[in-house]
Symmetry: C2
Subunit: 319 residues, 2 copies
Amino acid sequence: MDQAKGPRKGRTIGKTNDVNADLIAVVVAVNDAGPCVLTIEQGAALPSGPFELAHRSLQSGLRAWVELQTGQPLGYIEQLYTFADRDRVGANQRVISISYLALTREEDAGASGRRSWASWYDYFPWEDHRSGRPPIVLEELRPRLIEWADGADDGATRFDRRRRAAVAFALDGRAWNEELALQRYELLYEAALVEEAKRGGVLAILASVPGRSMIADHRRILATAIARLRSKIKYRPVVFELMPPLFTLLQLQRTVEALSGRLINKPNFRRLIEQQELVEKTGATTAETGGRPAQLYRFHHTILDERPVAGTKLPIARA
Amino acid sequence: MDQAKGPRKGRTIGKTNDVNADLIAVVVAVNDAGPCVLTIEQGAALPSGPFELAHRSLQSGLRAWVELQTGQPLGYIEQLYTFADRDRVGANQRVISISYLALTREEDAGASGRRSWASWYDYFPWEDHRSGRPPIVLEELRPRLIEWADGADDGATRFDRRRRAAVAFALDGRAWNEELALQRYELLYEAALVEEAKRGGVLAILASVPGRSMIADHRRILATAIARLRSKIKYRPVVFELMPPLFTLLQLQRTVEALSGRLINKPNFRRLIEQQELVEKTGATTAETGGRPAQLYRFHHTILDERPVAGTKLPIARA
DNA sequence: ACGCCTTATAATCAGGTAGACTATAACTGG
DNA sequence: CCAGTTATAGTCTACCTGATTATAAGGCGT
């Protein structure tokens, strides 16, 4: 039966190398409360489901599962990563997970039962530096990471662990790098400081650190999505996928700040956005901002086609 | 049998959603002749094979297939893209392709029969702008792209096609963007100007354009790899994976130029490399360069760990 | 030996950009 | 009408980037 379809060059004669392919979605939106991810199971899982014969493509399969499980239609989609799950190997079958990042607006939502929006920072409380470095880093993470580093057998490993922890979490006077979200999660996993590490057979000697966990490796996938998005907003104008049709420059800035987890210098942000000609004034203003009424802008769509390189460089405050 | 393994949440009751997963490798090296890709079948295919139960991970499966088919051991690997092949759908089975980019040095090669190194630019002759814009762009591509654009039914589509062609191939005074390698191939495919388009059921009215083709969608995967690599060398120091242990700054520059397909200003390149502290002098020199003997450098490995952000920005000459 | 060619290496200069900061305008709410 | 809040414009400086020129050190042919 395996040999029935097309030129497989005979490489799999006599074997079945069937796998099951799972599609997993990280659906991101930003509201006043900050950056959110679409979840099911009361925030414990990302929308997902197997790739089926009925699906025209991977992306359409993903859209189908997300819409079925959450009622959320998806717009912008990009692939994140594909990995084979070592822990879910059957007798003659393995599972491959193909993860995607989707950007949407929360108001697109049609009401649906099982879904809920959860803040990124419920899962990664150490990632939000908008009000300066969160206390959890120095109070909780640093001592436990040092404990983990010093638990290594040889001096070289101890040194290396300390260095990696310092780079990832901006210790010892280093600068915070918001794009290292995935490295940070993986470091905490390696140090058995997140709940998921215990499930993986690691006997966690150290207690878990604050931050909500998810089933399987869903939190790891979310960390991948955050890192990718934080990197991408700097060279591609993807932020606008998260904005309503009309918005003020401060709303745009707040969205970028929510994603990157750090504050941006206001005049510089405005200058950059305006000189890049990514937006255009509509002439309308809104008085709902509290102070002087703000101009309402809209995304300049044509620019997307003309300058495929152009990005939205973010002037992020240094210290 | 499908239900036997672990919590599948009953989503696939009564169905088999098995797929076959293929691993495909774009193995890149650079020699004096330029950037090369490792091929089998006399340059008609990339190394590939199905993901099997015996493989510990996707990456190790890929390494196994490449080494078996070409004798080439792989060092640096990164995932490119995963896609479901619409054209290879069986009764109860589909094929998923997971493509990877690998960087290596050609001298790593152990001799092996079926393999051969082929220049990128045999497959994409329009991509090499090191000696200025290649004649093929204006002589072959432009007239056929215009013909294709004007063949559209409505004026809006005609305008859009012309704009896309101009952006991708730097027509009408636009600047060449080497990172658009994939868009260019896809545009030529859409215009039925590459041989592969005919196989896809498209009745090619227009004749094919110069440039060697490959089986299935292997040339498309190669284009993806080129675009990814051309983008990545600008923000991550991956070039060094392609360099011998000791090299001169000009050799490094020539390698970057080979990949990006365009020339770099020499003093600026040196300044950038040196101030980034990505390399260190060995003290040794080589006289094999023809003129004054050049310093031999080596890659400064420790920098990789310390500055995960740092890249190798390329000062690429504008006009 | 000499000059010429080739490449290596250092130094300089101008324009642009990014970051930080200051100043002024326009509205709301007490 | 004043205080608070936000919007918007402008400035100043350090650094980066692209471009160019100058000098050094080898090989090679005559």
